[in-house]
Each structure stands twice: as C-alpha cells, then as structure tokens.
C-alpha cells in the first residue's frame, strides 16, 4: 500500500511525504491491565502500585477482561479482524521504571488486525488503513531533579540531595491500546486529521478519556520522504507527541530537515527523535545502531488470549452508533447537509445534544446552526465542553424563533441569559424581558405608515430602484417597534404598501 488510493500526493519541494502514526491510547479501565490496582491519575507517587505492579517475587499477571473488551470495541469500530487467539509477549529490557525487566505487550499476534479510520481533510474524504492494534502495559515514570527542585516539586522527600532520579510506579501496568497505521498519510495535515478522528473515535467509544495533557492519548509519527515513484525512504520516529499542534509542527520541521539533508547530499539514518516544543525542532534520541534486542517471546504466565464469537457479539450489541453512521443518519433523518452532519458528530456528547434539541424543537437545521454558532462560541469562550443549557431549554428557545415569537437578535440575547443561569423558562423570560415580537397587525401597519410618511427620501430612492433604501426603511420600522416587530413581516408590509 503506497498511500491512500485515488489521489495524487501533493509534493513538498519535489518530495513525497510519507507518514505512519502509532498511538498509545490509555484504556479507561478502573484497574490496571494485569493487577487490581487503581489507574486514577494524580495520586501520590507509588500509592497505586500493587505487589504485581512492583514486580515483587512470586507475583503473576492476570489479564483485565475490561481492557480486552475495549480492544474488541475498537476493533469492531474500525472494521478490523478480532483475533480469536492473540498472544501476550514479553519485551525484555532493563530500565528503573520497568519493574519486571520486561513489558507485557503483544508482538506477533495482536488482538486487533487490520481495519481503517475515515476522516475529512477540509471537504476531501480520506481513509487510513490500520496495521494492527495491540494491548500492552504502560511503564512507570522516572522523575529527575536536583535537591529540592525537580519534577517531584515540593513533594520531593527532604533527603533528596544533589542530582536525583525518582521512580513513580503508579502508571506501571496501566492498560494501553497501541494503534498502528500503515504509512498512508502524505502530509502533516492528513496526519493531524487522522489523529483527531482517532481521538474522537476512542473517546466516542468510551474506551479512552482522550486527555492528552495527562498522557492518555500519545502519538508517535514515523516520517520519511521520497521522490515520487521511488521506494519508501528511511524513516525517523518522532516520539510522544501529546498535542495536535505539536504533531503538525514536529512533522513539518522533520520533513524540511530530511529534505534539507537529502538535498545536501546526505542520507537519512533510522532514528528515534523527540520534538522540542520550545525550539520547534526535532532532535535525535538514539539511532538504530544502539537499538535494543528486546528478546520477545510469548509470556508463559499468560495463556493465549481467546476471544470467542459470543464475546464479540456481546460487545457489538453494546456498541454506540459510530460517528460516521450517526452523521449519515443525521443527513437522512434530519435532512442535514454532509457538512452539518459531520459538525454535529465531533463527540458523542455533541451528537446526543444535537439530537435531543432537534427532536424537541422539530427544527434540526436551526438546532445545528445554534450548536455550530452560539453554543460553540460560548464553549470556546469558556474553554470547556460543558453545555450550560439543557437541550429542552435550547429547543424551546429555537421553537420560539421558528414560530416567530421572538427575533433572532432577541433569541441571542436570551441565549446568553439562559447560559448565564438567569432562569430556564424560555416563555417566562420572553415576557419578563418584553422580547415578544409584535403580532398586532394594526399596530404594525401604523408604524409602517408612519415610517413611509417620515422618510420621503428613502421611499423615493427605493422606488427609483435602490434596494439599500428599502433596508433603511425596514430598519426604521424595526426601531420604531422597539425591536419587537418581525423584520420579515415589516418588509412584506412595506413592499405591499410601496408596490
């Protein structure tokens, strides 16, 4: 597979960019993958490490069925094969935050095989094929510092002096799903949109909390460049990209670096690099020459992981409707455009919210507009994803716009009041704030007559063909009504009288 089918890759300085992504998604189980210790983030160091996590002599791993079930859920969502039998293997290396001296992972036979993730870059559909997704345990954390300063902060024990490294094993044994793509992406934009789509999916599925700051969703990008038609170039792997912005910056920098190197007559050597966000550059950590021999072999403490059809069906039955399916349904059931339908499915929460508002208001298009407009504006301003207005309340507001009880401008004013907690009864607020549009035909007619009489110049201009003058007349009438008239009705009345 040399990239997604059916499209020409955009070239960068005459080179084709090739990207594959490996993502570590922390699975949202309450306990660890091979022990009963809690996975909650932020506890005091080493308080969430059981004898199994500490690798005390005599301890043994027992696979967490919840982690396996989440892997199955992911596999079904991406249309992958769920291996009826997969194998846990030991990846052997020494490091102080790896208590057993090996990491339990899956090597030759992963639980999820194949599958694909679909997404849009702008309005162009893309599809990235997955190689595999496998279960593994996370390592602990090494914290470094000098004296009382360092990553343990004020929490550093008093006897920490000089340069120190401390080990926190709370994270050791946290379940991870490592999701590996084929080298299918051809630009940093594609890579970022893939990562966003994957992030949406794992959060949507409820298998990962998606918190990138806490490391629940981390990406490694394998980047290489080649002349069009040439075989794949040598790749360098950018490790631990924990934001989409850094991913884009890191890949862009790396691509330029590799092209510079090749154009200067050099050749890329396989290496692992880190992205230095402060300086905006990638820097080599280790080269292939000092790569470990991990001595993988099947873990004799864990029998092959058997997943029967019945288990898969149980998981399938409990699957939420997937983002893509839901967007398609929004198009057919609510007559949304493809763009609106996608905009209504960035998260399960938004999709549910939209659907509740649409059903209660019977105005799906308005519901989508309000969510894309006002709701998004307030969420962005608050930097939060908690929608402060209940769906039924927003539906009531939209219904009052639709039946022309209030104007759009009044509705926006009311929306902010509702958001800020100044009540929740839409009709009561409309009345108490006097926002009801004028429905008295006689009163409106009087206003229109007065405006025509008082604005002779505009009337003449309009009659001479100047449409802008008409808008001025509508504005005058609206003003005279105290904003309570329906601008549509005012316009219609004006045209009738001036026609």
């Amino acid at each position: 597979m040399n990239g997604a089918p059916g499209r020409a890759a955009a070239l960068m300085r005459g080179f084709e960019v090739v990207i594959g992504i490996e993502t570590h998604a922390q699975l949202s189980t309450l306990s660890k993958i091979f022990s009963g210790a809690s996975t909650a983030f932020g506890a005091a160091p080493n308080t969430q490490a059981s004898p199994v996590d500490l690798a005390l002599p005599g301890t043994l791993p027992v696979a967490n069925g919840g982690a396996v079930e989440r892997a199955i859920r992911f596999g079904l969502a991406v249309g992958a094969t769920i291996a009826p039998v997969s194998i846990f293997a030991r990846k052997n290396y020494f490091y102080p935050d790896l208590p057993k001296g090996y990491q339990i992972s899956q090597y030759e036979t992963p639980v999820v095989q194949g599958g694909a993730v679909e997404f849009f870059v702008g309005d162009v559909p893309h599809r990235v094929n997955l190689t595999r997704a496998h279960l593994e345990e996370d390592a602990g954390k090494s914290l470094h510092g000098v004296g009382r300063e360092g990553e343990a902060g004020a929490g550093a024990p008093l006897d920490f002096q000089g340069d120190w490294t401390a080990i926190d094993l709370n994270r050791a044994g946290t379940p991870l799903l490592e999701i590996v793509t084929e080298p299918d992406m051809r630009s940093s934009a594609e890579a970022v949109e893939y990562a966003r789509a994957l992030h949406t999916l794992v959060v949507w599925l409820g298998i990962c909390d998606g918190n990138m700051q806490e490391g629940s969703f981390r990406c490694d990008a394998n980047v290489s460049v080649r002349r069009p038609g040439a075989p794949f170039g040598t790749r360098r792997e950018i490790k631990n990209l924990n934001s989409f912005r850094f991913m884009q910056q890191a890949i862009d920098y790396e691509v330029q670096w590799q092209i510079d190197l090749i154009e200067d007559g050099g050749s890329v050597r396989q290496a692992t690099v880190l992205f230095d966000a402060e300086h905006g550059e990638t820097r080599a950590m280790r080269s292939k020459e000092d790569a470990h021999d991990y001595r993988y072999f099947p873990d004799p403490d864990l029998p092959p992981l058997a997943i029967d059809a019945e288990w898969i069906e149980r998981v399938r039955a409990a699957m939420p409707e997937l983002p893509r399916d839901r967007a398609r349904r929004f198009q057919s059931q609510y007559s949304l455009s493809a763009y609106d339908a996608t905009a209504m499915t960035p998260s399960l929460r938004t999709a549910d919210y939209f659907e509740s508002v649409a059903a209660a208001s019977h105005e799906p298009k308005l519901a989508a507009n309000w969510i894309m407009g006002e709701v998004t504006r307030r969420l962005n301003a608050a930097g939060s994803d908690d929608i402060a207005i209940a769906p039924a309340t927003l539906a009531a507001l939209i219904a009052r716009v639709a039946d022309r009880t209030i104007s759009n401008a009044a509705a926006k004013q009311l929306f902010d009041a509702l958001w800020d907690g100044e009540g929740s009864d839409v009709d009561a607020l409309i009345d108490s704030r006097g926002l009801r549009q004028m429905r008295d035909a006689g009163a409106l007619e009087r206003i229109v007559d007065e405006v025509i009489a008082a604005n002779k110049k505009s009337v003449d201009e309009f009659l001479a063909g100047k449409e802008r003058a008409f808008n001025a007349l509508v504005g005058q009438a609206m003003k005279a009504s105290g904003g309570k008239a329906d601008p549509g009705e005012v316009g219609a009345l004006l045209r009738k009288k001036l026609g």
């Binding site: 004898p51 500490l54 690798a55 005390l56 002599p57 005599g58 301890t59 043994l60 791993p61 027992v62 696979a63 030991r90 052997n92 020494f94 102080p96 208590p99 057993k100 001296g101 090996y102 080990i167 021999d293 001595r295 993988y296 072999f297 004799p300 403490d301 864990l302 029998p303």
Partner: protein, 501 residues
C-alpha cells in the same frame, strides 16, 4: 537411630494421634523444633521461626478444643524457600534476596495455613531452584540424612532431607525439571509433582514459568495425598491455574479398578515401561532395585507393558533451552532498584545493574541467565527457542501415544543414587544429563511421583518414578499407596546419629 517419638509419625498417623488427643500440636511442634536444632548439621533449614510455630501450634490446639478438626490441623510442616511467606525471610536460596520479606503469602502457603498446618520455617534449596544437589544454595550445603557426605538432591534438597531425617512429617517443594522427584528419590521418601496447573504458582518465585509446579515431599503416598489436597485447586491470581473443582486425593487412595482385591489391589492397572528409561547407562544397583519393585507391582496385579518415549534424550537440550530462556526473563526483576541486593559501589545505572546482579547471583544462575538471553536473542530465537517448543509439543504427544497402551509410566527417577558432595559441582553438564528421566514429564506438564523402591550402592535409597496422564494424580497415588501397603521401603529410617541435646 534416634529414640522413637512423635517424629516417627507421618502426616496421617500424626493427624490421628492429634485427633485422639494422644498428643498436642504444641508437644509435636516443640519436639520437631528441637530436632531441627539437634540436626542443624544437615543444613535442611534456612530459617526457623520457633516462637511463631509454637504460637500457631497453640492456636491449633485451642481450635481443636473448640471443636475444629481436619487431617492437617496442628500438623507441623515447612516450606521450600521458593514460596514467599510474610512470617519469615524469603530468599530463594540466593544472596540476591538475603533478608527479603514478602508482604504476602504464596497461595500454597495460605491454603496450608487455612488447613491448620503449623509452619516451622523455610527450607534450603538450590538458588532460584536451579540445580539438583542443593549445593547451589548461596547460604550453606544440605546433607543427605542417609550419608552426610552425599548430596540430598535438589533443588528441593532441604525439604527432602528434613522429611527423611524425621524433622518434619511433610514439606512443600517445587519441581521444574525434577526438583521434587529427584531429592525424594535420593533421600528415600515419597514426592509428588502434580499436573501443571493443579497448584497455584502465585507466590512461588518463578524459575521457568511454563514448567514450575508446587508439590509435596512426605513419607508416604497417603501423606502426600493429604497435603496435596489442601494446597491445590484453582487460583484466580494465577492465569495458568487449572479451572477444575478441588479434588479429594485421599479418597483416591482406596479406589481400585474393576477386579481389584485386597491381594491384588493393582489388578487392571497397566504400567508402561519406556525402553528409553532403561538404557545401558542406568546404574546397575538402581536398575536392580527398580526391577524388583516392578515385579512387586506385577505381583499386586499390575500388567507391565513395553512402551516407547523416543525423544527422551532430546528432553535434555529442549529443557535446557526453554527453562533458561524463561529464567533469563523472570530474573530480570532482580535489578537492585526496588528490593534485594544492590551493590555498594557503582557509577551509573548500567554499572549499578551490572554490579548488583554480578554480586547477587551465583554461578549456576548466571550461567542460565546467559544461556537464556542467548537463545532468545535476535537471530537465534527461531533456531533454538522455537525449535525447542516444537520438540516439547512432540514429547508431550509421545506420552499421549504411550497412554493409549498404559495407565501409568514407570522408570527410574535418576540414573544413580545420591552422589558425594562436591562430586559434580564443577561439571554442570553432568548435572544436566542426570535429569534425563524427570525432564520428559516436566516438559509435557504431566504429574509424576517418586516412591522409595529399595536401596542401591552404599545403602543409598533408590526411587521409582511413576508418571500419569494429565490430572491423573489419583491413579498415581493409588498405585503408590498399594505398593506401600505391600512394602516397607518408605518406612525405613536413615541411621542418623543421635541429635545432640
């Protein structure tokens, strides 16, 4: 020969005496604690917890006074120092873990405590159970009670010596490639290694995870059945534990086949004799004792049939690739970071690892870590580890072919009787070759026993090995029990010097 006393009683007999209040657990425990002191020269124990043992015994007596019962209530035992225990240090016979204290008890330890046993302490073994003479213990030698100048076998040598010397009625052991059966044979006692998965490995310090299995060393099949029944059964903390209902092994002792009678208790039992188990290299004294024992089995009604285990010799290279491969990984956790030995002098992380592990591990352990690291390395894995796994499967299949034609397989446990201390300590390969008869059943995961079958050169005991099909511990125990009903080899006591008072 020491004076007769409570130490002469096995598990079953002692249980009856305790139930009849002829003895109290405190009396027996105190007596055996004294014998451990008197026979310290044997080097059977690594740590004895006198106060803790007496407190447990007093508790057992108190519970019996309030109506508690059970065949193991108040019975003193001790554990091979491979099982982690909260009450004593756990070392696995290694300097790496000198003074280590576990915050939890092994499942086997926990279950035996629940059954009311009194734990005297921990017993010597080869370092991390690697060896067949107990000379690889980092702490001290263990001597064979039949001849103190000879090895007790290993790696469960402390367990075997303690039971043979009548310091304990029973002890736990572990068997990876013969570590229960061979010392039982060398010390003239009865030992059983059940099917892989019958006893939980949780809390057993791992040597080779796919082979390690806990078992019992005692004086008779009946005693083995009582202890094994209490310590076995499914454990959710061990993913390789067999999900089967608990078994009453003691009830199996009396279950003969159709046509069996008091005179012919083994009527209907087909005993397979693999010709590869009786090679020219088998010592004459051992073969003579075994042939006589097999004739006795036949007299008791068993039918002897010839079978084949054509890959018996291959079991040595297969085992010595797989076991070290797993060990090299299992022992990686002993890195000096969180517990265990850490070198005093080091410059950086790598030198800390290197110095701690160089100082903490003994020669045999290092040898196996190196072999295992090599066979798992890139480029060698397919040639060594994968090939060994294929052969392992074929060896298991060979046994299944045998079990089409017989119910149990019999043969020697070891090619010779116990050898003199130091005789093989410079020759690891000779040690490995001597495992030839115990390795096949280990690789196949089958249950095996060693039962006293007579004496060979220099008056040293000879064991007969019985191997059964998966989960056929009952068949093995029944056959051994019938044999012991007709013979007295298992009641012979080593001519120990009187303990110093």
């Amino acid at each position: 020969m020491s004076d007769p006393g409570p130490h002469d009683l096995g598990v079953a007999a002692l249980g009856r005496a305790l139930a009849a209040r002829e003895l109290s657990s405190v009396e027996v425990t105190s007596h055996l604690l004294d014998r451990f002191v008197g026979h310290e020269r044997l080097g059977a124990a690594l740590s004895i917890d006198r106060e803790g043992a007496l407190a447990q015994a007093a508790d057992a007596d108190r519970r019996r006074g309030t109506g508690a019962a059970g065949p193991l209530l108040g019975i003193p035992i001790a554990h091979k120092d491979i099982f982690v225990t909260r009450a004593h240090p756990t070392t696995a016979g290694s300097s790496m873990l000198a003074g280590y204290r576990s915050p939890f008890d092994a499942t086997v330890v926990e279950r035996l405590a629940e059954a009311g046993t009194v734990t005297l302490g921990k017993l010597n073994c080869d370092e991390f159970a690697m060896g067949s003479s107990t000379e690889n213990s980092a702490f001290h030698l263990t001597r064979n009670p039949w001849d103190e100048s000879r090895v007790p076998g290993g790696s469960s040598g402390g367990s075997a010596a303690a039971v043979a010397a009548r310091l304990l009625p029973a002890a736990t052991g572990t068997d990876t490639g013969g570590s229960i059966r061979q010392p039982a044979s060398f010390c003239g006692i009865t030992g059983i290694k059940p099917t892989y998965g019958v006893c939980s490995r949780y809390g057993m310090i791992a040597f080779a995870s796919s082979l390690d299995q806990a078992g019992v060393l005692a004086r008779s099949a009946e005693d083995c059945a009582l202890v094994l029944g209490a310590m076995s059964g499914f454990d959710p903390r061990d993913s390789t534990s067999a999900e089967r209902p608990a078994q009453d092994f003691h009830a199996e002792l009396a279950k003969g086949r159709a046509g069996a009678s008091a005179a012919k208790p083994l009527q209907g039992l087909r005993i397979g004799l693999p010709k590869e188990f009786f090679p020219a290299a088998l010592a004459g004294d051992v073969e003579a004792a075994l042939r006589a024992a097999l004739a006795e089995m036949a007299r008791l009604g068993a039918t002897l049939v010839d079978v084949e285990l054509p890959r018996t010799e291959l079991s040595i290279p297969v085992y010595y690739l797989i076991a070290p491969a797993e060990a090299s990984s299992n022992l990686s956790r002993f890195d000096g970071v969180r517990y265990g030995h850490r070198a005093e002098h080091y410059e950086d992380l790598q030198s800390m690892y290197r110095a701690s592990r160089s100082e903490g591990f003994g020669a045999e352990v290092k040898r196996r870590i190196m072999i295992g690291t090599y066979v798992l390395s890139h480029g060698y894995y397919d040639a060594y580890y994968l090939q060994a796994q294929k052969l392992r499967r074929m060896i298991a299949d060979d046994f299944q072919a045998c079990f089409q034609r017989c119910d149990v397989i019999a043969g020697p446990v070891a090619p010779t009787v116990a050898w003199p201390l130091g005789a093989q300590s410079d020759d690891p390969v000779a040690n490995y070759l001597a495992d030839i008869f115990t390795l096949p059943a280990s690789l196949a995961g089958l249950p095996g026993m060693s039962i006293p079958a007579g004496f060979g050169a220099a008056g040293m005991p000879v064991g007969l090995q019985l191997v059964g099909n998966y989960f056929a511990e009952g068949t093995l125990l029944h056959a051994a029990h019938a044999f012991q009903g007709a013979t007295d080899w298992h009641t012979r006591t080593p001519p120990l010097a009187e303990p110093r008072r």
